[in-house]
């Protein structure tokens, strides 16, 4: 059965040359803070491996040592001597302080200091409004006037372009059902919910073209609710903004009510 898997035609493409660890590596991290998430993941993994190895040593070791052939008479104990209670409690406390409180503290610090540490109002950031719908992503940039939901806004469909090296702030909402804006390469996702604004910010580092997906089940074509993320250098981005703002001035039709799905930035 295993040979079928290894020899099946789908595998005999380029992926076959890929090593196992390369295959299961998460997508390339292109954000400034994604490494915090990766680091915590790896830290938790090392702790987990340590404790799971202990469990396995107990499980398999005891199973071997105390097989009834090797150990015909069981020890009579209720596990209520002082030492035994101390050991069991010790394990509980060791796990709690060793792993849990540690990772909670680290995660909490990252959460407070980075992920919910919103850029200040006067900071120079790229602002994007996102409206999710079945099954597409609408993005909106304030046009030349710097205000959202006005005639000169730049809107794109399934096409998000941001500069590297600058904070990007998103406000998002959904038109119909709950979606979730998922950037695998930035390790981030936030739900887009009808009737309430949700927010996210990140800063990217590496120019290129990446995937955006919807992570929350949103109907039959959920799997195809994909968009492309283009990360530009600052100069490329400025050029693109200039061009698309001009294009928007010429082509936006102020008579179309459905062009104004945005909202004043909040």
């Amino acid at each position: 059965m295993l040979s079928t898997i290894l020899l099946s035609p789908a595998v005999s493409t380029a992926t076959q040359k890929m090593g196992f660890f390369e295959m299961i590596a998460p997508p390339e991290d292109i954000s400034v803070h994604g490494n915090k998430i990766d680091w915590l993941f790896n830290y938790t993994t090392s702790m987990n491996v340590f404790f799971f190895v202990l469990v396995c040593i107990g499980l398999f070791g005891f199973s071997y040592l105390y097989h009834k052939k090797r150990h015909p008479k069981a020890l009579y104990t209720y596990g209520n001597t002082k030492t035994q209670i101390a050991v069991a409690t010790g394990i509980g406390i060791a796990v709690f302080f060793g792993i849990d409180l540690n990772i909670t503290r680290i995660s909490n610090n990252d959460y407070v200091e980075v992920f919910t540490n919103w850029p200040k109002a006067d900071e120079d950031v790229v602002k994007v409004e996102v409206m999710a719908q079945q099954w597409a992503w609408n993005f909106r940039y304030a046009g030349k006037d710097g205000l959202f939901n006005t005639e000169d806004d730049v809107t794109t469909l399934n096409d998000l372009r941001v500069p590297a090296g600058k904070k990007v702030v998103f406000q998002m909402i959904s038109k119909d059902v709950i979606h979730s804006l998922y950037f695998p390469n930035a390790r981030r996702k936030v739900d887009a919910i009808p009737g309430r604004l949700t927010r996210m910010w990140y800063e990217l580092t590496k120019p290129g073209i990446y995937d955006i997906a919807c992570a929350e089940m949103c109907g039959t074509y959920h799997y195809r609710m994909a968009a492309k993320l283009t990360v530009y250098t600052q100069e490329e981005y400025d050029r693109w903004v200039e061009q698309s703002q001009n294009l928007a001035m010429q082509t936006n039709d102020p008579e179309r009510p459905d062009a104004f799905w945005g909202w004043p930035w909040q």
């Binding site: 008479k73 995660s107 949700t198 799997y223």
Partner: protein
């Protein structure tokens, strides 16, 4: 300690009163067992179709595909795929695991293990099964409605589960079925709690109960408290769908007034997180007992295990918010739920240590129930530890709604509960049906299942870590998932191995129930709890005289044993 006189039911005389409208808790337990095994098959088949689609999207499902999906030549279409994973989750949780662990073993074990003649409310018990059947009929019927069954995931988040996202009749019927099943389970839970409180045999204190009863009792408490919450949520959802209310509609989706879709998530997960423990607590209890029975040694720290399970029961009600980190709750709530979630690991680690303490210096008999129990220790270790990544908010921002979550909850809920349930079937088989299942095939079944399920669920964890998200019909439309094709294929083959291994079980089970001539002895496993003091299979009145309990359930190798056995029946006084 029994509060009142227990009468002996008249012996059933005809087929109808014996097998269909029986008040006997053992028959109701068996009814739930067959019901659960049937749905385990249905849900398992759906799982194979899901896995097949993930590995070979657009290719015909082997053998039965062309019969089920003739219009696509046998391949699963995307909308059917959404129905499949919705129904797979629903069926496995509510119609397979719940009936087997809680319905079958709850009914069968509670009166027998506490020395009662029946449940406190036999009629309610019978109705609970019949209502469950009604619910199952509605759920299966929804598969045949014009727009198909519910397709919004087993969590059925609005507004996808309102008319905005699923206009068909299927979603309404799904919600109704879950509501009715909630009624059935609540009836069962009330019954279990009352029975455990009022019908324990004279002399049986709470700590003299086997840990199985602790697990089942705590589950019943959670069920009685939280199923009504789910019921309320379902009812509001039905109102939104049928009567045009807007509890969960907002934004452009709401034509008048406005509600909040996130409200449903709160209601759902207040129930949904305890539900995880509702499913796992009976398995924990059973495993704690079986480890002691087959290590021929008292359960290590039995009191601590019971109290840890109680602590977890309480804590499980306070942590549900970790399912909703990505909805951007207030940071204070997020931090609170994260910290509370982490405290669950203290009691978990303690009873985990107790499990290992139980087999430490034991004299282990590797029977099939013991193998399954040790298997639970292994897979639950993996399941519990992978939960840590999802409890911390920052890693959850990446892993939420990926296959990592799927792998994690399959390890905790599917793997642990399935192995625990199968161990329980092998163990109580003699008392239920009077025969013992073939041990050799049981062990073969165990090892193949174990290999298969670890390939599947470990595969899911790895795929999820690599970023692949859940509930997608064709994962390979994205560039970042292209490289995961081989791993998805491997995972699928693991599922196929695991699925086919269950044929061994079914043949073994059916053979033992219907065809095996050789009768099991009254106490084949040499265990001292009350159900083993009576003949196999248990007579319809259980105990001709209500037993008087004189010692604990795990007196193995006690120096004060009175017989020449290495265990003491709970009805016998220690010297």
């Amino acid at each position: 300690m029994a509060f009142y006189e227990q009468h002996i039911h008249p012996k059933p005389t005809n087929f109808l009163s014996k097998y269909i409208i029986s008040y006997d808790h053992k028959v109701i337990g068996k009814q739930f067992l067959w019901y659960g095994i049937f749905f385990l098959f249905v849900g398992g088949l759906m799982a194979l179709m899901i896995r097949w689609t993930l590995a070979y999207p657009g290719e015909a499902f082997p053998i039965i595909g062309s019969f089920l999906f003739p219009e696509t030549g046998g391949a699963v279409p995307p909308d059917t795929y959404a129905m499949l994973f919705t129904m797979h989750g629903t069926i496995m949780i509510f119609y397979a695991i719940t009936p087997i662990l809680i319905g079958a073993f709850g009914n069968f074990c509670i009166p027998l293990m506490i020395g009662a003649r029946d449940m406190a409310f036999p009629l309610l018990n019978m109705l609970s099964f019949h209502v469950a059947v009604l619910s199952a009929v509605i759920l299966m019927g929804s598969l045949f409605t014009p727009l198909g069954a519910a397709a919004g995931g087993w969590t059925s988040y609005p507004t996808l589960s309102t008319l905005i996202g699923s206009p068909g009749m299927g979603q309404t019927l799904w919600t109704l079925a879950i509501f009715i099943l909630g009624v059935s389970s609540t009836m069962g839970a009330v019954n279990y709690i009352t029975t455990i409180i009022t019908l324990r045999a004279p002399g049986m204190g709470y700590f003299d109960m086997p840990l199985t009863i602790w697990g089942l009792g705590l589950t019943a408490v959670l069920n009685a408290i939280f199923l009504p919450v789910l019921g309320a949520g379902c009812l509001l959802l039905i109102f939104d769908r049928v009567f045009g209310t807007t509890f969960f509609l907002a934004g452009a989706a709401a034509t008048s007034g406005t509600g909040d879709p996130v409200l449903f998530q709160h209601v759902f997960w207040i129930f949904g997180h305890p539900e995880v423990y509702i499913l796992i607590l009976p398995a924990w209890g059973i495993v704690s007992d079986l480890l002691s029975f087959f290590a021929r040694k008292p359960a290590f720290g039995a009191k601590a295990t019971a109290l840890s399970m109680t602590t977890i029961t309480i804590l499980s009600t306070l942590v549900y918010g970790h399912h909703m980190f990505t909805t951007q709750m207030s940071p204070l709530l997020t931090q609170t739920f994260m910290t509370l979630t982490m405290t669950i690991s203290i009691p978990s680690a303690i009873f985990f240590a107790n499990w290992l303490g139980t087999i430490w210096k034991g004299s282990i008999r590797f029977t099939s129930p013991m193998l399954f129990s040790l298997g639970v220790v292994f897979v639950f270790g993996l399941g519990g530890l992978t939960g840590l990544y999802l409890g911390t908010v920052t890693t959850d921002l990446f892993l939420h709604d990926t296959y990592f979550v799927v792998g994690h909850f399959h390890y905790t809920m599917a793997a642990s509960v399935l192995l625990g349930g199968l161990g329980a079937v092998y163990f109580w088989m003699p008392k239920m049906f009077g025969t013992i299942m073939n041990e050799w095939w049981a062990k073969v079944h165990f090892w193949i299942t174990m290999v298969g399920l670890n390939i599947v669920f470990m595969g899911m964890l790895l795929i999820g870590y690599a970023g692949m998200h859940r509930r997608i019909f064709n994962p390979f439309v994205y560039e970042f998932t292209q490289k995961l094709i081989p791993l998805n294929e491997l995972t699928t083959w693991g599922a196929i191995i695991m699925g086919f291994a269950q044929i061994i079980f079914v043949i073994n089970f059916v053979h033992a129930v219907f065809f095996k001539k050789e009768k099991a002895s009254d106490n084949p496993w040499e265990v001292g709890t009350l159900e083993w003091t009576i003949p196999s299979p248990a007579p319809h009145y259980n105990f001709d005289k209500i037993p008087v309990v004189k010692c604990g359930p795990h007196e193995f190798g006690n120096p004060n044993l009175t017989g020449d056995r290495d265990f003491q029946y709970q009805t016998e006084e220690l010297a």
